[in-house]
Symmetry: C2
Subunit: 229 residues, 2 copies
Amino acid sequence: MLNNYSKEDKVLLAVDCIIFGFDKDKLKILLIKRDFEPEKGKWSLIGGFLKKEENLDDAANRVLNHLTGLDEVYLEQFFTYSEVDRDPEERTISVAYYALINIEDHDQELIEHYSAKWFTIDKIPNLIFDHNEMVDQAIKRLQYRASTKPIGFELLPEKFTMRQLQKLYESILDTDLDKRNFISKINALDILIKLDEKDMESSRKGSYLHMFDKEKYDKKTHEGFIFKI
Amino acid sequence: MLNNYSKEDKVLLAVDCIIFGFDKDKLKILLIKRDFEPEKGKWSLIGGFLKKEENLDDAANRVLNHLTGLDEVYLEQFFTYSEVDRDPEERTISVAYYALINIEDHDQELIEHYSAKWFTIDKIPNLIFDHNEMVDQAIKRLQYRASTKPIGFELLPEKFTMRQLQKLYESILDTDLDKRNFISKINALDILIKLDEKDMESSRKGSYLHMFDKEKYDKKTHEGFIFKI
DNA sequence: GCTATAAGTGTTAATTATACACTTCCAAAG
DNA sequence: CTTTGGAAGTGTATAATTAACACTTATAGC
């Protein structure tokens, strides 16, 4: 193809994906053992190359679906990494995304097939290339986003207890929260449905289950409501 | 070159740059009349293609320096645009940056040479491709960043009045601020140096000039201080 | 029926944000 | 010399939000 741009350099464009999951009371990310060179055998984010006929969101979804079997997952692009030597094999620019998944949902067989493993975010191993930097930035972005949009629910089962929600925010924000203050803040938002059902796993008394009321949230947002934790 | 990646598609990677300036009491951006096809003659952001031997920050700096003659300008990458047909000429992915410059500083001749023009942000014309979307997102990112980091000063001359600073934040945040509340907030931050010098342009009484005390800000930040407006 | 354990629940104090109006200064006009 | 116009500069009171804090309740398991 000959056109106005034809003398310009082309590059490989990858997407890399930080997959967050929330297990009991820990925020975790899913990593794979890389099975090809360079850096074969090292821990890595999942990634793949952008194809001609797709945009970056599509590519990130495709890559994520390969590993987890999941579709329609929350994904947010957050930064593009471009150091000249970041990949020793060949000049590659990588667009980083993070994904939020319900850790109970993904395809266990696929995970094993890729030798993937969950790591708590305070014990991330050394990763290839600039992937550790990507993880750090993904956590920062997640902290900001989770404070301003109701995306935390993506990491929880459909029905969850207030305590689970609190633990989730504590692990995302890396801080301790006061139980009473947290609950009254959440209640003031008025975007949850409290069920009659109780979760009996965590205590003898049991703990009421809640659901995120997306319709109500959308309606309130439309009327000017701003989510803030 | 033959390697593990050799069957993957390559793409053109561009950088596009939203250049913000602050003129009197208006936030503006600098646009150029595009002088090549496609979309020749239409208003556009400045941009250019990534070269083999540079990273994206370098490319953005290069592109910005071409148009303004400026160097060491505040630049932040904020999003990568990848719709398949965003550029009708050829598949091009674009990484968007915004820049903050002191509007008095740039090279007037270069601006004229490129038929560039400043537009206030509430009167942006129709731009090529997805550039209007880029501008909208740049403004949002600037609003967030200016609330959490002392980057506003990049848009002002070295010496500025409190009123200029207030007008700047008003135009960035697109809101009115109370003069007394604003000043006491800024004073509470304790990161400005008040000079004995006055600016006599704007009133008969004159208005004290201030400077951003970067050293003090860095020291305070190191000690846990968090900038917040 | 006793016990151990997490769930659930309100009030007060402290901090932060908002609302609001008059005086001062000085160049320019007369 | 006096007057005037216009922006600069300044403080307090109220409202809203956030932070600190401890006891009772429910129930499964022994």
